[in-house]
Symmetry: C2
Subunit: 430 residues, 2 copies
């Protein structure tokens, strides 16, 4: 199952089991990841910087006799003590920051060691960084959590933190063929993270197994780990999301998802087709308005103090959008959002999990843009938890294609349990 | 009306009028504030630091020919380029930060110059800083925006930024005899501000006139200034809030507020007595749960990396509270909050403005605690805008006592218009 000759390939749960059995040490595991990084990073460019004191930090932890250490990557809009936070710009202060983001301090307390900061697009928006898709180096890894997805997909680290305001976790995870999980809004702390649109921004986790996603969810909510119990498919009611979003997907993706839904049904799952046309169209509209308005303010420092250093897509894109909305329109949109969320809650009284594409297609053959987030932004603003699973590959390019699952607000457990079952049934026992 | 010999006494709107008429220069105004600070600061201790480059910054602005400059103070949990952010601790990095908080960049663009960072309690919680109440130096100024309130009350600056999660704007403003305004939740940007409880935290404004509050509201929402039109009292329907909160106020405060409500009625206002017992009790309970849970995570850096440097009241108070709440309980509380907010919205279909005390009594004769926020925390978590007006003085001590007004979510305009009328009718034409 796992390869102790190349520990960088291990999932966190696998590695911790081996460490527990004395078949692996934290130092061997982390050293293996560092070696993998030194091999692959010159091609993939997933990191902004590598924490050169990783082994030193590890020795210190060993001295005080804590448990095993876990190597993690952190998106470079999230503060990590001792490393700079450049946020995908070249003009910000490159001195190390001195205060951990809340999530980073919580992970540190749980034994995590930050191996390095991963590449983000400019200020978490569209303008891409240098990261390449490890499956095809001239393809985008997606954004804005570009480096977090690529580094995990390429086994440089087992897990990373990313953030999503539009489609910044689910899309890059899908393009890179890994698992991306955006929990319920505000489930994980966001202090010490560059805000984009605070009413939407969500911190999430990128991993290669659902067990690792669950492991890190428990760390980040500071609750004890327990073994995730898969849900039997015949206990689950899936909503197959057709309607306005569906039409945005490429035919190949539509066929793959439709076949998958059929397969779920054959294995006993209950399936209902849904359009949710009103809710989806309203959420798309509210996302544009609220994220534009809030983003323009969140990056007022860059807009006011560094405007000529910003990319054109930023200045003429969302910054310009935000400028057309009044405070009154914004607050009315926030009120309207409450009502759409309540309406969505009613749908989840019957449906356990919605199924839909994670993106229109596979990663685009370009490094100049990061792809379309249309399948993700509605669930970013609704605050529902979502996960992408690497279920398919494109026929011609063989690039990964993800399938996205969405559950009720604060019902992350059912989502992870179902995801574990689906990975076991359709991919491989992990 | 205004005293050009002592420009530090001017309100912002008064000073800008004089500057417009060439009867005052920005330099004279700011220099006067700096002189006032050098006189009073050794007694009041409102500032953590003074921006020693204020006049240099002013000269640079004059060189590029922008409009008049406005001196402001900024609570020291809010980042200002070129000044450190100590957050009421003595262990945080004292190097200047390089990125403005969103609100600070927006104020800078509108011509504001940060004169200094004002004292906050430890991490915005209870443990007091060195600030004293300018009306009686052995009395608390309130907290956590202690320095912001004291500096404005003592005419060291005309306006300051503060934040409120429990009662951190309204209470210190009331104790110091000035105007404190907490807008609708998320009305002003919060990027670059230490989060305490992000679902509640609100940035607000402390001033000596309602016109200045309105002036800064327009700056912070980035909309054009217009002259605030007072509302006639006979067009307003006030809800006189009795019930569970009322019983918390001292008898003197109850009498002052009741007399004021009578006076409003005599001047034509419609008055309805309300208890809102269910809503208030529920909001108090949700505030305790949500703020405890979120605060514990927001300051995970301090908790994990600096625990032995934190005060006892912090470690054994809210940090301990937060530890007893599960993620599921927290998310259920967030859902419940939505429903309480919707119920409150229905009350404001009939009532324009609620009236109640700003605090139990006047500032306490101690520097060891900052007073009880019970009249404020419900409106912090409900997200309704609130304002305290310095309408009364305690009979024996002559210390200021405030009256608090609360309006519907996103109906800040009616609140400020009514506040302007009340100040004109009951205090003095400003």
């Amino acid at each position: 199952m796992s390869n102790t000759a190349n520990p960088y390939n291990l999932s966190v749960v696998e590695a911790l089991n081996l460490i527990d059995k004395r078949a692996l040490s934290s130092r061997e595991w982390i050293t293996s990841c560092l070696e993998r990084i030194s091999q692959r990073e010159p091609k993939v460019h997933a990191f902004v910087n590598i924490n050169t004191r990783v082994l030193e930090e590890l020795d210190k932890l060993n001295d005080i006799g804590v448990g095993p250490s876990i190597p993690v990557g952190v998106k470079d809009i999230i503060d990590v003590r001792g490393l700079p936070t450049m946020m995908g710009t070249n003009f910000h202060d490159n001195r190390p920051v001195s205060r951990d983001a809340g999530s980073v301090a919580i992970m540190r307390e749980a034994g995590c060691i930050v191996v390095g900061k991963t590449v983000t697009t400019e200020l978490g928006h569209k303008h891409p960084g240098p990261t390449r898709n490890p499956h095809a180096l001239n393809h985008t890894p997606g954004g804005s959590s570009s480096g977090s997805a690529a580094a995990v997909a390429d086994s440089m680290i087992p897990v990373s933190l990313g953030t999503q305001t539009t489609g910044s976790i689910i899309r890059p995870a899908a393009y890179c063929g890994i698992i991306g999980y955006k929990p319920t809004y505000n489930d994980f702390d966001k202090s010490g993270i560059l805000p984009n649109s605070p009413s939407i921004d969500t911190l999430g986790i990128l991993t290669r197994t659902v067990k690792d996603t669950h492991y890190f969810r428990q760390i980040l909510i500071e609750e004890p780990y327990y073994v995730l119990k898969p849900r039997t498919l015949n206990s689950l009611h899936f909503g197959f999301l057709k309607g306005p979003l569906w039409l945005e997907a490429e035919t190949e993706v539509q066929n793959l998802i439709a076949d998958h839904v059929d397969a779920l049904a054959r294995k006993g799952a209950k399936i209902t087709e849904l359009s949710l046309e009103n809710e989806i169209n309203k959420l798309l509209e509210l996302h544009r308005l609220i994220s534009g308005y809030e983003f323009r303010r969140s990056i007022a420092d860059e807009r006011v103090n560094h405007e000529n250093k910003l990319s054109r897509v930023l200045r003429e894109g969302r910054l310009a959008d935000g400028h057309t909305t009044t405070n009154q329109e914004y607050q009315m949109a926030i009120k309207e959002l409450t009502h759409v969320k309540l309406a969505l809650g009613k749908i989840f009284l019957e449906i356990d999990i919605l199924v839909m594409p994670s993106a229109k297609g596979a990663a685009l053959p370009t490094l100049k843009e990061t792809g379309d987030p249309i399948f993700n932004s509605v669930w970013s603003i609704s605050g529902n938890p979502s996960i992408t699973l690497p279920l398919f590959n494109a026929k011609e390019s063989n690039l990964p294609i993800g399938c996205q699952f969405v559950s009720d607000f604060s019902n992350d457990n059912i989502l992870l349990e179902a995801a574990e079952t689906i990975m076991l049934e359709f991919v491989s026992p992990s």
